[in-house]
Point group: C2
Chain length 336, copies 2
DNA sequence: GTGAAAGCGCTAACAT
DNA sequence: ATGTTAGCGCTTTCAC
């Protein structure tokens, strides 16, 4: 931490007491106008900046919120982060970010980092490992400390706290409906994230929707993106498929590439919809129609709830906000 | 901030003094083994967590570094952030992130947020507005406060501090060389960021390289991505171009789309290279050959320098690290 | 109108 | 081996 001039220094310079300086700088009416100005001038000339650590210790409020995300290289989380940052800034809060990198250990460490008084509350999306292992000790601990907490997107049913989730089921359901309305009769579901709760919800929505249309579910699960080209080529050669719903935007983009390789024209021969409205979808060729989760908005909502909670504006029971998805239409689906 | 049990509470419970508790918890040899254990047990049962704010106030070190980036939705900055986070975590530091959103005002506010003792040092990339306006008051102020600071990528020559930059000039120069070696004779430079220092360096490298090849520089500046399709179509119709070097990956992807629209085959008729090795480049069709800036590595290096500086491991003079670029070859350039 | 003093939670030099 | 005390920088009650 760099060297600093303190209230004491200013008091010495001004020949007054520390408390007078403090009051003057905080525009207390107790202090006379000219003393106040004199002190302010001195502070100015010394480049005085009040020490926030000391203030926080005194006020028991840090005006910062902690955010834990599983990965910073997933665009969805960045957009959420952007939303959080906007809302936080607007309401006078800073954000501290920790990455769990999908690991339970790092997630627990991050919680511990926050629990010690450095933030007023926490926003997080659960690490994949934690979702699998179902070991929630660290969250129970933070709950015991009365740390205000809101989970978003990847949430834990077993933990009581505020939550913001995406209606992935309905998103997939509506996407199938959208394709069907465009005339698609053989809709395939491409799922590279079948091992996550989110991937599962999307699959469920797809199955429910196609069943309602009297189509057989046709699901291709891949464990890695590199498998997509081969898997789809096999499908194209053996079945007649006229639409693909992909569980994320990367697989949607790769599906388009595979289709082109198999001489299928998009959207004439094949319609493609992906999940997540990100850069890859936008810059794909053709640009991708996607199911948008309103990531930025999720961030704003989560931060709004947390700050309301911190500031005591919420009643005791946890809030549970479900954000609806929306289809963003581009050129990978027929325009009728 | 949530309610907390303090050293004082523990002291009362154990029937000893506060300092005894403090020493016991910190494994001081001054305290007897059984007292120590007894105190630790009590602390454990109370879920005691030491207050970090109080510790920071005392130790005058926060073990956290501040990061200011111009935008969180630019993948390059995320990768740098990822690198910073890794290095920081490894060395026992946390990171606090502020976004300037390319605005000088928000940048100055962020600096002020950090200058007040909440971080031990700052890593930043300069906001576009600041680069244009050349108003550096906030940086001079932080320098006056002896705040350790390292700038990366977008740096200010007029400010004295540690710096990590990318050799954009050489990166562009080498890309032209690479294209020329592949047989390209008419290389166009597509620049959507000509108003930034980085965009300028890349242009300079291009100009230098083509001049050395006795080609006339052929530069298309666009102020918005939406202009690219039209601008390039005009070019394709009136000139014979066999390669495009784009100053970022988005414009490279859009250049490919424009080429396809004009019935040019990539890479047979036209080679394309972009700057920045991101998702869009990876998932483009064909996948893009790019100039990689090793973003993650830049983050690691910047954090390493900052922490060395904070910990007094560096001599006075500022370090100035230039990171070399590398060409990542994919399918948008001929493979000979 | 100004100052003295206490205290936020913690650490550490200095007693005992 | 344990306790007393002072102090990090600030705010805030209470005296003068």
């Amino acid at each position: 931490m760099p060297s600093k001039t303190t209230l004491k220094d200013l008091a010495n310079l001004a020949g007054v007491s520390v408390s007078t300086v403090s009051k003057a700088l905080n525009d207390s009416p107790e202090i006379g106008a000219r003393t106040r100005q004199r002190i302010k001038d001195i502070a100015e000339s010394c480049n005085y900046v009040p020490n926030n650590i000391a203030r926080s210790l005194k006020s028991r409020s840090t005006k910062t919120i902690g955010v834990i995300i599983p990965a910073i290289l997933i665009e969805f989380f960045n957009k959420v982060l952007y939303g959080i940052e906007q809302e936080a800034t607007e309401r006078g809060y800073k954000i501290v970010i920790c990455l769990s990198n999908e690991s339970s250990r790092k997630e627990a460490e991050s919680i511990n980092t926050f629990i010690n008084g450095s933030v007023d509350g926490v926003i997080l999306s659960v690490a994949e490992e934690t979702q699998k292992s179902k070991v929630y000790d660290h969250f129970e601990k933070s709950a015991k400390h009365n740390m205000p907490m809101v989970m978003f997107d990847r949430v834990l049913d077993d933990i009581t706290c505020d939550k913001v989730t995406v209606d992935d089921f309905e998103g997939a359901f509506n996407a199938v409906k959208f394709l069907s309305d465009l005339g698609s009769k053989n809709i395939l579901f491409l799922n590279p994230i079948s091992n996550t709760s989110v991937g599962q919800h999307r699959e469920d929505g797809y199955v429910k929707a196609v069943s309602g249309l009297n189509q057989e579910p046709n699901i291709v699960n891949v464990s890695h993106y590199t498998e997509i080209e081969k898997a789809l080529s096999t499908v194209f050669n053996n079945q007649k498929i006229d639409a693909i719903l992909a569980a994320d935007e990367y697989s949607a983009a790769l599906a388009q590439n595979a289709a082109r390789l198999n001489n299928l024209k998009i959207p004439q021969d094949l319609s493609v919809i992906g999940f997540t409205n990100g850069m890859v979808a936008e810059y794909a060729n053709p640009s991708l129609t996607v199911v948008s989760q309103h990531a930025e908005n999720i961030g704003k909502i989560a931060a709004g709830i947390l700050l309301d909670r911190i500031e005591g504006k919420l009643r005791a029971e946890p809030v549970n906000k479900v954000v609806k998805t929306k289809i963003v239409e581009r050129n990978s689906t027929k325009n009728i």
